[in-house]
């Protein structure tokens, strides 16, 4: 089963929860770090790294000899990534979504593809956990193609935990789309609640099954729980604030290593979700 861990708000404990979920499973599992702009699950997992793979995306390349300046490529581009100057198209690679529309449209076959390096995927292992991490190169504007590639690699395993990027736009959508269930990790603050509401809207639009994990659940007021109740959103787990967990985190020690009793709780919620999805 593929389970994603997302949040909306950053810093609520996605990576903490995703790593703990993977560590709580007794069978083979893949932990896929899809927070490719700042991947950091490895600092809690400490996997042994075995190999790296470069990831490329395809961008259009013009053969100026063949181009007759018909402008059809400019008009077909939905991302406004092609301008037309001196009767020739000019491609803006960082706006290009690699859809290939211009290549298909060109009647002269004047556009081919070039490969552009956008980042890498790192593979590693720690006990029963197969670790896969995407890492986007600095200066790259689009992470979804890399996230897609990480998930493709992760899908080779039966059970996958996806550590999604924060937010609720394209990268988050890409990461949670592959999952059968999504845990939304949040905190009971106005910021946590607001961003959770946005994330809930996204998951409902995607028609994904999801539940909430409340981190630092005992700080602040009850507005978050009221929201979950009124919206019929199941709260899968509450993690009260623990200085011990926070201190462990600050040293890169996972929460289930600090508080092993959480292993049972995480295992339970995974089993429950597996049962529900059957």
């Amino acid at each position: 089963m593929i389970i994603s861990v997302a949040s909306g708000k950053g810093g609520t404990g996605k990576t903490t929860v995703a790593t703990a979920l993977a560590q709580s499973m007794s069978t083979d599992v893949c932990l896929a770090d899809c927070d490719v702009e700042e991947p950091n699950a490895r600092f809690l997992l400490h996997p042994e790294i075995s190999r790296e793979e470069n990831v490329f995306v395809k961008k259009p390349l013009l053969d100026e000899e063949k181009c007759t300046g018909c402008r059809q490529c400019v008009d077909v581009c939905q991302f406004n990534a092609i301008s037309f100057i001196d009767n020739k198209p000019v491609f803006f690679d960082y706006l290009c979504h690699s859809c290939g529309g211009c290549i298909l449209k060109c009647p002269e076959n004047a556009i081919s593809e070039k490969e552009v390096l956008i980042g890498k995927i790192t593979f590693g292992k720690k006990e029963n956990i197969n670790f896969i991490e995407g890492s986007l190169n600095v200066g790259q504007a689009m992470s979804p193609p890399l996230i897609k590639e990480v998930i493709k690699q992760a899908k080779k395993y039966k059970d996958v935990i996806i550590d999604a990027p924060p937010g609720s736009s394209c990268p988050m959508v890409e990461a949670v789309s592959a999952g059968e269930h999504c845990f939304l990790v949040t905190e009971p603050t106005p910021f946590g609640l607001h961003d959770l509401q946005v994330a809930v809207e996204v998951l409902r639009t995607l028609k994904k099954s999801f539940s909430v994990i409340i981190n630092r659940s005992d700080i602040c007021d009850g507005k978050l729980k009221d929201f979950c109740k009124s919206e019929n959103i199941p709260v899968a787990m509450e993690i009260p604030f623990s200085r011990k967990i926070a201190e462990g985190y600050s040293k890169g020690i996972s929460m289930v290593a600090v508080e092993p009793n959480y292993k049972i709780k995480f295992k339970e919620i995974i089993e429950r979700i597996k049962l529900c999805s059957k």
Partner: protein, 112 residues
């Protein structure tokens, strides 16, 4: 010579729009005979690549210079590649004043 001014409205008394890509109107003015043509910007609601699209519009109409508040890097790249000069910091003026300032070389050209 045709120049293009980013404008909040469709006439000479409108204010210059500080934004280029998402301005409300493009006012094309022929500096020789002061013939004016206002074009509503079709790109104000577009998701991305707006600078490119708007710069393209100005290039296609045949503007040789842009007068605006500021342009983004994408629009600037298209305009420079097409040999269109870009004059910025014209916000706070009316279109008419901006055209006057352009004619009297009172505007600063953006070169990079």
């Amino acid at each position: 010579m045709k120049i293009c001014i980013s404008s909040e409205g469709n006439n000479l008394d409108s204010n210059v729009d500080a934004r280029f890509g998402r301005c409300k109107f493009f006012i094309f003015a022929d500096t020789d005979n002061m013939k004016i043509d206002a074009v509503e910007n079709p790109n104000t609601e577009a998701m991305g690549g707006v600078g490119i699209k708007s710069a393209q519009l100005a290039v296609d109409v045949g503007a040789k210079a842009i007068v605006t508040g500021n342009v983004g890097p994408n629009a600037f790249e298209v305009l420079s590649k097409a040999g269109v000069k870009v004059f910025t910091n014209a916000q706070g003026k009316t279109v008419k004043e901006a055209i006057g300032d352009y004619k009297n070389s009172k505007l600063t050209e953006k070169t990079q």
